[in-house]
């Protein structure tokens, strides 16, 4: 057992080191592309000096790189990491490969929360992630309660409960947007589809902190999640505090989903595709797949958002459209393979 633990630890370490390296590389590479062409050498020089030196960039180019592009890429990383981690832990806790923030309606719960914040507390930026968190948590509890029949929560019941909560909350969103005035509808619908262009300087550090802390907390509970995959009864017999783990996952995952939806709207499929890829390539040990999913999610959303901001430049696409375009076919492929 001890030696097995050590091998897992080593495997986790190697996988995380490789993925972190890839993440760093992607952050740097994607900072070099955008709707405006920046000289690659000078940009690289400025990036590697952590913005302390302007190298040969003009001050406008420097601002584009450090005020617009890099914050947006870091937000994409935080959002991707958050959503993939939340997805991976929902899937383990609920023993359901289809558990995903977007499909379960949890993203929609967070979206309704954000919308309430925008309509009633428009001036306060901090109300958005806070109410998004509350919305996500309430949606999670609703899905969970609906899914738990007398015979326990079957995967089918869970997905159906998710569908019901999703459609219900979608109608709430449609209802409120109809009441909004015309100019706000435009910005709101774009945001709903997942949009990273409105990167807020105040909320970015919060989103990153939540992504990192959330991933650490959930990885710390990975052993319990592993045992929970055997079934709640067995996990309980093996000494897992099932109730406590459930609360931790629900609260932390809601926090992750809430902060990413408040920052970027509903970016779909990240929580589904990335954990699946992580498990397919690294096995289903959550101690390994949760941190790997976090890093993979960050990579996935950074690449998707780079496509969103460059494909039809200087116009922009919503990133959620890109993740769904990549995610849905990939998911069908994964389903057929397994």
């Amino acid at each position: 057992m001890a030696s097995r633990n050590r091998t897992t630890l080593r495997k986790t370490f190697i996988a995380c080191a490789v993925l972190s390296g890839a993440l760093l590389l992607v952050v740097i590479l994607m900072s070099l592309v955008g709707s405006e062409r920046l000289p690659a050498g000078a940009s690289l020089c400025a990036l590697l000096s952590f913005g302390r030196s302007q190298c040969t960039l003009t001050s406008d180019q420097f601002d584009i790189l450090f005020q617009i592009r890099l914050p947006r890429i870091l937000l994409a990383a935080a959002v991707g990491g958050s959503l993939a981690t939340a997805g991976a832990s929902y899937q383990a806790l609920l023993r359901n490969p289809l558990a995903e923030p977007y499909l379960l309606g949890i993203s929609n719960g967070a979206a309704v929360g954000t919308m309430i914040a925008l309509v009633f507390f428009g001036a306060s930026e901090w109300s958005r992630p806070l109410l998004a968190f509350v919305g996500a948590l309430l949606a999670t509890l609703a899905v969970y309660r609906l899914a738990r029949g007398r015979a326990g929560a079957t995967p089918e019941r869970l997905v159906l409960a998710g569908v019901i909560v999703t459609t219900f909350l979608s109608s709430v969103i449609v209802f409120v947007t109809t009441l909004m005035d015309a100019t706000r509808i435009r910005s709101f619908t774009f945001w709903l589809l997942g949009d990273l262009s409105g990167t807020s300087k105040n909320l970015l550090p919060v989103a990153i902190a939540i992504a990192v802390v959330g991933t650490v907390v959930l990885t710390a509970n990975a052993r319990s999640l592993n045992l929970l995959m055997l079934g709640e009864r067995d996990a309980f017999d093996l000494g897992v505090e099932v109730g406590r783990v459930r609360i931790v996952v629900f609260v932390v995952a809601s926090l992750l989903v809430g902060s990413s939806v408040a920052a970027s709207g509903s970016v779909g499929y990240v929580g589904l595709v990335v954990p699946h890829l992580a498990r397919l390539s690294l096995g289903s040990d959550n101690r390994l797949s949760i941190p790997a999913a976090a890093l993979g999610g960050a990579l996935f959303v950074i690449v998707a958002d780079t496509a969103a901001r460059t494909l039809i430049a200087p116009r922009e696409l919503p990133v959620g459209a890109i993740t769904a375009l990549i995610g849905a076919p990939l998911f069908i492929y994964l389903l057929k393979r397994t």
């Binding site: 709707s35 601002d63 005035d181 015309a182 100019t183 945001w191």
Partner: protein, 322 residues
């Protein structure tokens, strides 16, 4: 993305829930009866009316009655045109966006431009419905045509297009003289502006439709033509589409010399501040931020020339000093 799926699923669940076959039969019967009745009503030959063909901006040939007493407008700019050519008394319905001239507010509302109520429109028995492409829906048009209601589509992309709309409505409503007179006045005001700015250096303008997310005016927007005539040069004039979502870094790199914020009209007090990436543009540093009533800039109607004059005076104050 999820909308259609959600919609289908919601229909699916509704159908499952309503198990009562009788209800469905009853509903079906009602529909058949209702349809049958309306069909009979429509099939009465309208011998009193004679029609003529006009071609609208969508390239459709529309048969409109020679004498039109009842018209519905589904866009605020068209409502303004109808009133401006003195045919406001024929307007039996308009939208909740139609707030100018004040009389337009008292006309029966049929919903807003994007969501008009087809039932309400049919109930008002118009002979003609005029729409702008913003509200044009194929199914919607078809439904009205099966009710013998002509639908005329306007789609102006520039000031010439606005003049064309005015003349077309003048012809259709038999107010040709008023329309020609109005277009003449608008043309001479436009010419005066163009003459005043003719020798000036064009000012590079960023038109900010909304700050977050950042939207601007593209190639197909009618305001792009207004900016050009006002002695400006929209930095986003070549971007495809009418109202594109614009890249923040491109906005920063564009370094506009002036920024126009459409605000304070029916869009409300929003959009009064410059977007973050434009904060250090020459326009902000030199204080060349111009807040102009959005109704004058986004509605392709007679007041667009007011917008043109306001923009030109803002961009080239010296050209208008006399």
């Amino acid at each position: 993305m999820g909308g259609q799926r959600d919609f289908l699923l919601s229909i699916h669940f509704t159908c499952k829930r309503i198990r009562d076959l009788g209800l469905w039969l009853c509903l079906g019967l009602t529909l058949v009866l209702a349809f049958g009745c309306s069909r009979r009503e429509n099939s009465t030959p309208q011998t009193s009316q004679t029609f003529r063909d006009v071609t609208d901006d969508a390239g459709r040939r529309v048969a409109v009655p020679f004498r039109i007493d009842r018209i519905i407008s589904l866009a605020p700019n068209l409502t303004e045109i109808v009133y401006a050519i003195g045919a406001g008394d024929r307007l039996v319905g308009d939208t909740s966006y139609c707030d100018y001239p004040p009389a337009a507010k008292t006309v029966e509302k049929v919903g807003d431009t994007l969501h008009p109520s087809i039932e309400k429109i049919i109930a008002l028995r118009p002979q003609l419905v005029v729409v702008s492409t913003a509200s044009q829906l194929e199914v919607f048009t078809h439904q009205l045509e099966t009710q013998n209601i002509a639908v005329f589509v306007t789609d102006p992309h520039d000031l010439e297009g606005v003049f064309r709309s005015i003349n077309q409505l003048g012809t259709i409503l038999d107010h040709d003289d008023q329309a020609k007179q109005l277009v003449g006045q608008l043309r001479s005001r436009t010419a005066a502006v163009e003459a005043a700015v003719k020798t000036t250096q064009p000012v590079r303008v960023f038109y900010q439709l909304s700050a977050e997310p950042l939207y601007t005016a593209g190639r197909d927007a009618f305001v792009t033509d207004l900016i050009r005539r006002a002695g400006g040069l929209s930095v986003t004039a070549d971007v495809s589409g009418a109202w594109p979502k614009y890249s923040a870094e491109s906005a920063l790199a564009a370094r506009p010399e002036a920024i126009i914020l459409p605000t304070g009209g029916s869009m409300g007090a929003g959009n009064a501040t410059v977007a973050e990436p434009l904060q250090r543009s020459p326009a902000v540093l030199q204080g060349k931020i111009y807040r102009i009533n959005d109704d004058h800039l986004v509605r392709p109607g007679p007041r667009a020339v007011d917008g043109l004059e306001e923009m030109a005076r803002s961009l080239h104050p010296n050209a208008f000093k006399l």
